[in-house]
Amino acid sequence: MPESFVILNAAAIQRALTRIAHEIAERNENGAAVVLVGIPEIGDGLAHRLSAILSEIWRLPVPVGILDVTMHRDDLDHRLAPKVHPTVIPFDVTGKTVVLVDDVLFSGRTTRAAMDALNDFGRPKKIQLAVLIDRGHRELPIKADFVGKNVPTALSEKVRVRLDLPQREDEVVLEK
């Protein structure tokens, strides 16, 4: 059994999302121009939670899309075929500020794939990045605009985000 530590519990996750939502609102004056796009499997759940908080702040609905990035990954030859999820973007991204939402920012390759995938749906005015955890070890020149928690990690460690699982508290865990 690997050793594991809880980095964020359910309440801390919700507090971090509330803060991120306020930072998104501070950065983007015009809420009507903002859409959220979550990256499965966890990012879409986070995006829906952010949308709920932002809708209260702006007093308008904030649309949420789901963007599968696996078909755009650069490591498809080096691994078993990853699980793919249907992409659902029920709005036009052209001219919008798209906030990409992911659970963990690590190498930056998922974010690169996401920006690539988003291109096929239109030309956003801006793309911003919100992540629950930034664990470092970037391999590409990518930086998050909104971070729930910075967690210094070793390469061998794993960060697991558990969200909306049946009979399980939400939590973020670091596995040694």
Partner: protein, 314 residues
């Protein structure tokens, strides 16, 4: 999610979990086809060869588009315009294509076992696009995908396969796939083309067409393959239509939500009444759309390397 295979050769050896993985993956690829930009870079730089020793235009085009939508390059090879006529063997032909750095060989051949044979002599990924009377796995997978999409499930459904079974690769692949997913499969057709021995595959055989279709949720019609048929199998086309054709009168006996499938090409007025083929009960064109998504999924899955499936570090 489970897929560790380098090739897709049959449905007989697939587990239910592997079949579900293909269907789930295909769902995401179907959505790609509905976009303005119907292309993703997953197989960019890869080369796919359609090695069609037996002609099958719709299957070839489906694989061709599937490869193109994954950004692969594709070459079509057909037997009539090739060195085959000059006496080259299948093995030599395939190894020549591999020497051109083909990454995927899609093989269609009239000989059962052709795809398995190639998978043993090549390093490339091999996908079976129909090997004689043996298997046609992507057709069965697209049929299962279509059934699941329309009915929301497969387990517990009554699926009747009506028509020529004996020479049909589609029938065998469908029986393996659907029974693994928990469907109750019934076969029906002329006794010369539907031997009782098929019951060993876990399905039921009947020669009473009305009984076969009455409780069916899905009726999958298979074409009478004139090209594979010896003349002695049944007296004639019009007798086939009289005894086994899906006519309006027979359709009236079925459950109101029973849906009609057919892998094509359809013979209007033979195995299916023309109006039924064009009606809301028919899934024939949706099968074609879904076939493209399933073939994209098949190419994507077999392409997977040996590393971990999990996205690094998360």
């Amino acid at each position: 999610m489970s897929w560790h295979r380098k090739h897709l050769l049959d449905t007989e050896s697939l587990s239910a979990a592997e079949i579900i993985t293909v269907l789930d993956t295909a769902r995401a690829f179907k959505a790609v086809g509905e976009r303005l930009i119907k292309k993703v870079p997953a197989l960019r730089g890869k080369t796919v060869v359609n090695l069609f020793i037996e002609p099958s235009t719709r299957t070839r085009i489906s694989f061709e588009l599937a490869a193109q939508r994954l950004s692969a390059d594709i070459v079509n090879f057909s037997a009539d315009a090739s060195s085959f006529k000059k006496g080259e063997t299948l093995k030599d032909t395939a190894r020549n294509l591999e020497a051109l750095n083909a990454d995927f060989i899609i093989i269609r051949h009239s000989a059962s076992g052709a795809a398995h044979f190639l998978s043993r002599v090549l390093n490339a990924h091999v996908i079976n696009a129909g090997d004689g009377a043996h298997e046609h796995p992507t057709q069965a997978l697209l049929d299962a995908f279509t059934i699941r999409e329309k009915k929301g499930k497969i387990a517990g459904l009554n699926v009747t396969i009506l028509g020529e079974i004996l020479y049909s690769s589609v029938a065998r692949s469908n029986i393996w796939a659907l029974t693994k997913l928990g469907a109750d499969v019934t076969l029906c057709g002329p006794s010369t083309l539907v031997p009782k021995t098929f019951e060993q595959m876990g399905c039921r055989v009947t020669y009473d067409v009305e009984e076969a279709i009455r409780e069916a949720d899905i009726i999958n019609l298979l074409r009478i393959q004139h090209e594979r048929q010896r003349k002695t199998m049944f007296p004639g086309i019009s007798e086939y239509t009289t005894l086994f054709g899906l006519t309006q009168a027979r359709l009236a006996l079925t459950k109101p939500d029973a849906l009609i499938m057919h892998p094509g090409p359809i013979n209007r007025g033979v195995e299916i009444d023309s109006e039924i083929a064009d009606s809301g009960r028919s899934l024939i064109l949706e099968q074609v759309t879904n076939g493209l998504a399933v073939r994209m999924a098949a190419l994507f899955l077999v392409n997977g390397g040996q590393g971990p499936q999990e996205v690094a570090g998360n």
